[in-house]
């Protein structure tokens, strides 16, 4: 067909002479792709190719189908049951006031905050009630009581929107009290959490261990919201002011809190075990997370490559409180992760790759929010400023397929099994719920050699 136009024009001839001599070495990946495409013809790896490609496609389809059905049917990917229905030492955080005045100041503040959150603050004790309580055990509100160390800098606390929403502490002593309330280790992680979420209660309590021996005089105990007080305390010589985060049930000897959000109960107590009664069960349904990535892969040999980039993971969990209270909270957490992976290409076609990746990934929380859902949807309370807490480190193995979009740019989809070797200040999520967490992710990969 070619060479039939009898082209004798000087321009055409000169152009042909100029351009026919152009030669250029091709990039190494071109031959790799050609060779990979020709491998089936050589017969040796025909079975491997079909088996690998079919298995990867089938695996991806099955995993995607499972994840989508999970989403569609609103079935949880995983479930976490928080062990917060028994009041135990590790469930509580303790702090102390120097005097009743300070306690009153604190609860005045709590009342204000309770109102701001839309709760009924009427159940919070008044100054007179506190005074009466302290008098009945031979204490006066001016008694000097032991005060533990305030802890770290107060500056961090002042930015806490829960305890001090406007950053306007009344005085230094109040700040010290506040400082003691907020667990130092998780301060940055938890300060923006809605106060009534069981996750907060659990995490809060987990970090701060309550010691019996330190439980003296006017102590305040923060307990998970789903713990019910018991009033059969005997032989008590000390009073405790208890700030309950949720649904404490008032009884004859308990000054119960009336607000849904914050309050306290005054309790004559001898030992913490006296509080322990079955209470609310908390169940967290973890929805299938969304994972998107952008990666760069350096192929340092025919089959092997080093991969890194950014991976976004969006977790969604529904916290259901049943028993003494019926609430549902939806908590969304957003993480950004950096993987470092060794990639092995099992099938390497010009347009398609089947591969496995193995390595580590560090994830850091970047944002989060929560809202109340379910039967109280009309009373939605959103905490837009909530921060996703913590860091997670994992070891992971992925199997996936990649489609070449153009040049070195590939679209990949992969199924991953990850086990988390590090979880610092992380709220419950799908990754923390599974010892071996399965997930699907989608992304773009720039492959170069």
């Amino acid at each position: 067909m070619s060479g039939t136009n009898n082209n004798s024009g000087s321009f055409e001839q000169e152009m042909a002479n100029a351009l026919n001599g152009v030669e250029q070495q091709a990039a190494p990946y071109v031959w790799d792709n050609i060779e990979a495409a020709l491998q089936p013809q050589r017969g040796r790896v025909l079975a491997w190719w079909f088996t690998g490609a079919a298995a990867s496609v089938l695996g991806i389809l099955l995993a995607a189908n499972w994840l989508f059905s999970v989403q569609h049917n609103h079935e949880p990917l995983a479930n976490t049951n928080l062990d917060t229905n028994m009041l135990q030492e590790e469930n509580c955080v303790e702090f102390e006031f120097e005097s009743v005045d300070e306690a009153v100041a604190f609860f005045d503040h709590a009342k204000v905050r309770s109102s701001e959150l839309g709760a009924d603050p009427s159940g919070i004790a008044s100054a007179d009630e506190l005074d009466s309580m302290s008098s009945s055990i031979g204490q006066t509100k001016n008694d000097e009581l032991s005060v533990p160390d305030a802890g770290e800098s107060l500056a961090n606390v002042q930015s806490n929107p829960w305890v001090n929403p406007k950053g306007q502490a009344k005085n230094e002593r109040e700040e010290q009290v506040i400082e003691q309330i907020i667990p130092v280790e998780t301060k940055n992680a938890l300060t923006y959490l809605p106060i009534s979420t069981p996750a907060l209660s659990s995490k809060w309590a987990h970090v701060n261990r309550l010691e019996h021996s330190n439980f003296q005089a006017l102590d305040v105990v923060i307990v998970p919201e789903d713990v019910e007080w018991q009033d059969d305390v005997q032989n008590s010589r000390h009073w405790a002011l208890a700030g309950n985060l949720g649904s404490a049930t008032a009884s004859e000897s308990t000054y119960g809190m009336g607000g849904n959000r914050f309050g306290f109960a005054a309790q004559e107590m001898n030992a913490l075990s006296d509080f322990s009664t079955p209470g609310t069960e908390v169940s967290i349904d973890h929805r299938a997370p969304v994972q998107l990535g952008a990666q760069a892969a350096w192929g340092f040999s025919k089959r092997l490559s080093l991969i890194s980039g950014l991976q976004y993971t969006g977790f969604r969990g529904v916290y259901t409180l049943s028993g003494n209270t019926n609430e549902q909270w939806q908590v969304n957490q957003h993480f950004l992760g950096v993987p470092v992976l060794l990639g092995v290409k099992w099938v390497n076609q010009p347009k398609f790759q089947f591969y496995s990746n193995q390595g580590i990934q560090i994830d850091k929380g970047i944002a989060a929010n929560s809202k109340r859902i379910g039967q109280y949807t009309s009373q939605v309370v959103t905490e837009p400023g909530m921060k996703a807490p913590g860091q997670m480190g994992s070891i992971r193995l992925s199997m996936g397929g990649a489609y070449r979009i153009r040049g070195p740019l590939w679209l990949y989809s992969e199924a991953t099994i990850a086990t988390y070797i590090m979880q610092q200040n992380v709220l419950a999520n799908a990754a923390t719920a599974h010892p071996l967490w399965p997930s699907m992710s989608l992304g773009l990969r720039y492959q170069f050699e």
Binding site: M1, S2, G3, T4, N5, N7, F11, E12, E14, M15, A16, A18, L19, N20, G21, V22, E23, Q24, Q25, A26, A27, Y29, V30, W31, N33, I34, E35, A37, L38, Q41, R42, G43, P350, R406, G407, P408
Partner: protein, 198 residues
């Protein structure tokens, strides 16, 4: 190894080429690699003329060579093997361009104003092959395709019309517009080069 193969082939092209073709027919990986090493620089030069950039040229080369190896049984030994390979490579280029967009559509109107041909000394005397290639790549895809097929590959307008599924008139007019545009760009580039030299 690659250099060794090339040197060997250059020194005894005919006998070795026949061996390579025979090896490729037996799906011998080493023979395929040697044949690729021998021919791919020139074939990439062809692809670069049809492609908008190096990445696309690599795609064309890759698809073309896969077809060469897959169809090597169809080479009957009549005519030059390199010409047979070249034809497959050109077809692979056209196939990729066809997938991307139909050559010859709506390009004529876009560049109507570029028909003016500047006159002067032959710019090809000043420019290097890579410069000319870069200018070819700047042509719109329809112009570029017809220009390559007619001016370089030597297709007739009837053949181009049949290959690209356009009318003969379209092929004819596109070529002349491409030629005019090319001449204009060559002259501009020549002037730029001369200024640089001065």
């Amino acid at each position: 190894m690659r250099l060794g193969c090339i040197l060997t082939l250059v020194s005894a092209p005919m006998a070795d080429l026949a061996d390579l073709i025979s090896g490729c027919r037996d799906n011998d990986g080493k023979a395929q690699r040697a044949l690729y090493d021998l021919l791919h620089p020139k074939m990439l030069g062809i692809c670069l003329r049809y492609a908008r950039d190096v990445d696309q040229a690599h795609d064309m080369l890759q698809e073309g060579f896969i077809k060469v190896f897959q169809r090597i049984d169809q080479f009957g030994g009549k005519g030059a093997f390199e010409g047979w390979v070249r034809k497959i490579i050109v077809n692979a280029c056209l196939e990729i361009l066809r997938k991307e967009r139909s050559a010859g559509e709506s390009i004529v109107e876009e560049h109507e104003s570029m028909l003016v041909v500047e006159k002067g000394a032959n710019p090809l005397e000043v420019l290097q092959a890579q410069d000319v290639l870069a200018l070819v790549q700047q042509l719109p895809v329809g112009y570029r395709t017809v220009f390559n097929l007619f001016a370089i590959e030597g297709y007739s307008h009837e053949e181009i019309a049949k290959t690209l599924n356009v009318s003969v008139n379209t092929s004819y007019s596109q070529y002349h517009r491409a030629k005019a545009m090319m001449q204009r760009m060559l002259n501009s580039e020549k002037k730029r080069k001369i200024k640089q030299a001065i």
